[in-house]
């Protein structure tokens, strides 16, 4: 059975939205896919996926007028949003992949490449299943173990320093932000749609979350 939902998956031409839609379908959620700023402004629930480079993706959002539509929906209307992987990074203050570029600014910290000092002998990209340590107050991780496995594939990361809100971390040499949530803003550096049962439960938690602006 499919259920009519007000979730819009933002399509800006970057990355494979097939697997995100497949996971949402499995959860009984028949999401809308759109690259129309008017549709996005009016959605109460947004999902920003993405695979690729920060700079290219930000330009793709700007060219379609989607950056302002997302900011309006989230900050003015109080729509909830989940950013996944590059989608989370774009929500940061800025990114340095392929040259400095301003982000959507929904999360105040920047996104930079893993440094050798941080990761020691670890390899970049950070690819594979790794443990995410979440806090008991987290709504995204509700029902999951406080240390649960999720699938990562990335070379750039956000550091948790001075970040307000609910931060879940992964240790790759040192801590980086694996997931973030504050009010109506949710983000994961990992791919829940590639993280088996854990990812499906997390997506379900996002879908079930009500936020009253």
């Amino acid at each position: 059975m499919t259920i009519k939902s007000n979730l819009t998956v933002i399509d800006y031409g970057m990355g494979n939205i097939w697997s995100v839609l497949s996971a949402l379908r499995y959860l009984g959620c028949n999401a809308r896919v759109s690259s129309d700023p008017d549709v996005i402004v009016q959605s109460s629930s947004l999902l920003l996926p993405g695979v690729g480079s920060f700079r290219k993706a930000m330009i793709a959002l700007q060219e379609r007028g989607l950056d302002q539509a997302i900011i309006d929906a989230v900050q003015r209307k109080g729509s909830k949003i989940l950013g996944i992987c590059l989608g989370m990074q774009l929500m940061g203050s800025r990114g340095s992949e392929d040259g400095d570029m301003i982000g959507l600014g929904l999360i105040p910290n920047p996104v930079d490449k893993f440094t050798p000092q941080e990761i020691g002998t670890g390899k970049v990209p950070h690819i594979g299943f790794d443990l995410v340590h979440s806090s008991p107050e987290s709504t995204l991780f509700r029902g999951l173990s406080r240390a649960a496995d999720f699938y990562f594939v990335h070379s750039y990361r956000m550091l948790p320093e001075e970040l307000k809100g609910n931060v879940s971390t992964c240790v790759y040499g040192s801590d980086f932000v694996a997931a973030y949530e504050q009010d109506n803003i949710y983000a994961t550096q990992f791919h829940p749609e590639k993280s088996q049962t854990n990812g499906l439960v997390l997506l379900k938690n996002f879908l079930a979350q009500k936020y009253d602006a």
Binding site: N16, K194, Q209
Partner: protein
């Protein structure tokens, strides 16, 4: 600390899934067979990654393969790699749009290095899996083969592997043609062919007959992931049990709790997607 992985490899040819023994193919069943007799949607919760290869000898029907891939990957929530006969960036792109996250390449590693560079620059290195088939010759020396095991690359296998690793591939799939489909266990000597400092993840394949073989492979510090392509050895809930026994042996695999899914997703399903 990244976890080790258990990978299931499906071999596809002209609408059917195949059993391979020393690279000789035997037809097992079509997609319907796989879904009904093998309960694929269920076993997909016991693996960490899925690899689907079009092993058709001769001309392949890419469109039919992509349809099968789409059907298989819908409801499979792990990273998915696909390949077999990929010779152009466009072919790779079609696979990536049909549910694959990575592309597996074999023959172009030896015949068309430019393609490997193009794939890496277009989709990123992490998207390219270099598959290397290895067989002992009559003197017992290892040789690397390409073109579905038809073309011997000559020279030393260690040298060929070193050259593959130099290319912009994200990981290496090491497959023993001698052990393929025999159920005798992995050929762990293949790992001695790798350079001492191995900068890329290694997937070991060829020969698994039971969970102990998987454990033997995964226990080697040079192995990041173990794969099996044997459709019969893990039929029914075989993969689920194998995974459980690996975890009980202390292997650091990701932990998936299917019961959790049942508790959270199958109760009150309709309430979850209403507009906020």
């Amino acid at each position: 600390m990244l976890k080790k992985r258990l990978i299931f490899t499906l071999l596809y040819s002209e609408g059917h899934f195949m059993l391979s023994r020393n690279f000789r193919l035997q037809k097992v069943g079509d997609l319907q067979w796989l879904k009904s007799n093998y309960n694929f949607s269920h076993i997909s919760f016991s693996i960490d990654e899925l690899i689907v290869l079009d092993v058709t000898r001769g001309e392949r029907n890419a469109e039919a393969f992509c349809e099968a891939l789409k059907s298989l990957t819908d409801g499979c929530f792990v990273p998915i790699a696909a390949g077999g006969g990929v010779r152009t960036t466009d072919q790779a792109r079609i696979l990536l749009r049909s549910g694959a996250d990575k592309v597996v390449v074999n023959t172009p590693l030896f015949e068309n290095e430019t393609l490997i560079e193009e794939l890496a620059s277009e989709f990123g290195q992490q998207c390219v899996v270099g598959s290397v088939d290895i067989k002992r010759d009559i003197d017992g020396e290892y040789q690397v083969w390409s073109d579905s095991g038809h073309q011997c690359e000559g020279g030393s296998a260690a040298q060929s592997i070193a050259e593959v690793i130099q290319q912009p591939v994200g990981e290496i799939y090491l497959n023993s043609m001698d052990r393929d489909g025999t159920g005798q266990g992995y050929d762990l000597h293949l790992l001695d062919l790798l350079p001492k400092v191995m900068p890329k993840p290694v997937i070991l394949a060829g020969g698994v007959g039971n969970a102990i073989h998987l454990a033997e492979g995964i226990a080697d510090h040079r192995v990041d992931a173990v794969a099996t392509a044997h459709l019969f050895n893990f039929v029914g809930d075989g993969l689920k049990q194998a995974r459980q026994s690996l975890i009980e042996r202390g292997v650091d695999l990701p932990v998936w709790d299917i019961q959790l899914l049942e508790q959270h997703l199958w109760t009150n399903k309709t309430a979850q997607c209403l507009p906020a």
